[in-house]
Amino acid sequence: MRQLMTGNEAMAEGAIRAGCRAYFGYPITPQNEILEYMAAHLPQAGGAFVQAESEVAAINMCYGASAAGVRTMTSSSSPGISLKLEGISYLAGADLPCVIVNVMRGGPGLGNIAPAQGDYFQATKGGGHGDYRLIVLAPSTVQESAELVGLAFDLSDRYRVPAMILADGMLGQMMEPVALPPHRDPATLPPKPWALTGAKGREPNYIASFALDPKDLRELNLRRHERYREIADREVRWEEVETGDAEVLLVAYGTMGRIAKTVVRRARGEGLRVGLLRPITLWPFPYEPIRALAERVRAVLTVELSAGQMWEDVRLAVEGRCPTPFYGEMGGVVPTPDEVLQEVKRLA
């Protein structure tokens, strides 16, 4: 049976169903419903909920709870994610799984609370210090919000790499019918022999991102980057809409990705051969599928709620095979399908 839920609620419920048993957060709009949903429902599921004194504290609580071997999540919105970056770097450096939800809003600085996609660089290119990657998943519907949180936990555990859900205020606040994924019993999840459960009948486990000797730290980094390569080889996910005979290819993700679907439908209605590639994983990015399509289309138009952050990855994928125009809005302004369609018509 489908339920009518906001994206924020669906991410929270999706997390609980995926076996999340520790959540730490701090209020910030437009993601408060995640915190509130967890406060109401996680303790009933036997999980730990703490409203932390700051985003900094919340991400470090995640670091502790994840080290204890429990599926752990925090959520915030852009300015709060900036505060979490130190902790995210430590999670990455200590090879700890964790799911971090960013319901993006307008920035930089305090910005506003309207939907935006200005944190793409921060999510996919680091943000915190050091050579690390996050697995970054970008849902575009409430249904996908519930499902990708579960996938984020699975991938994060499997590769011991923190995963981020990159959503935005529109997706967080809007409601859609959602068929929720089944409940998973944390006891049935794969064991974590590295977790801090007490050194009983085994040597102590230590969790740290610290290696004073440069050779040791290089080795840790190299091994981590082997995992990153494996992720890039195996975990790229994307959706294509009407790309078969497309002459103009749109690339858009998240909220902008679903608006672009309407653009494709309207363009097709007017006889224009327009298609869409919607990245679902922003890291690893679908370079190869875009490259393949760039061989066949006249132009690849990137549409984003930013000044052109994902655009850089699209251009890296296309590598000059065709023109790569850009259409973006900032500050929380969301273009309507017709506004994007005008841009498409100029290219078609």
Binding site: A52, E53, Y63, N205
Partner: protein, 251 residues
Amino acid sequence: MPETETMTKVFARPRSLTEKRFTYCPGCHHGLITRILGSTIDKLGIQERTVVVAPVGCAVFAYEWFRCDGIQAAHGRAAAVATGLKRANPELVVLSYQGDGDLAAIGTAETVHAANRGEAITVIFVNNQIYGMTGGQMAPTTLDGQPTTSSPQGRDPATMGHPLRVAEMIAALEAPMYVTRQSLYDAKHITQATKAVEKALRYQVERRGYSLVEIVANCPTGWKMPPVKANEHIAATVTGVFPLGDLVDRG
């Protein structure tokens, strides 16, 4: 040396400590505190369920010295990391080991709020009035007039504030079960501090709640004093600013 009938072992490395050598300077109290913790963990029989949270500071390696599970926290965040561990698995005995820069400057918010929530953790706070690891800069606990590398003319309270009394600050909260300030400058105080550490850990084992043991410690290197003189300085001067004794015992 093998034991014989004529020799009895009266002193040994606590079982809860590893063979790894400490990286502390000669005469520093950190090593003594580590030893006290190791023997207390042995005494309470909690080695198999203890997790040591190490800070950034001179004790950054602390997680490797205990034969217990261990984790290295970001600077100032040990209390939040300890909160996460304990909330995720309440069966663990969680020990947060922190210095004064870590706990009382960059980590003040995490320190106060973990205490205020009454997290069932044990915090060992090593107050040596200086940033040792980074080379002897001014700490929040540095005494009025005390010269450091970042207060070369001495701490001037007019622009740098006065030493922060953490135990008093935490004792003002309602949730903590046990808040005490101890020192190690002579045998008597070592014995008292050992008892305080034991009580703080026992309260956690008994699920009573939060404890903080502030230990007024030395830093011979940072203070540029021989160890004996450093201990005399604690007795004569430092304990005047940071009075010793229990502030709260709700056990």
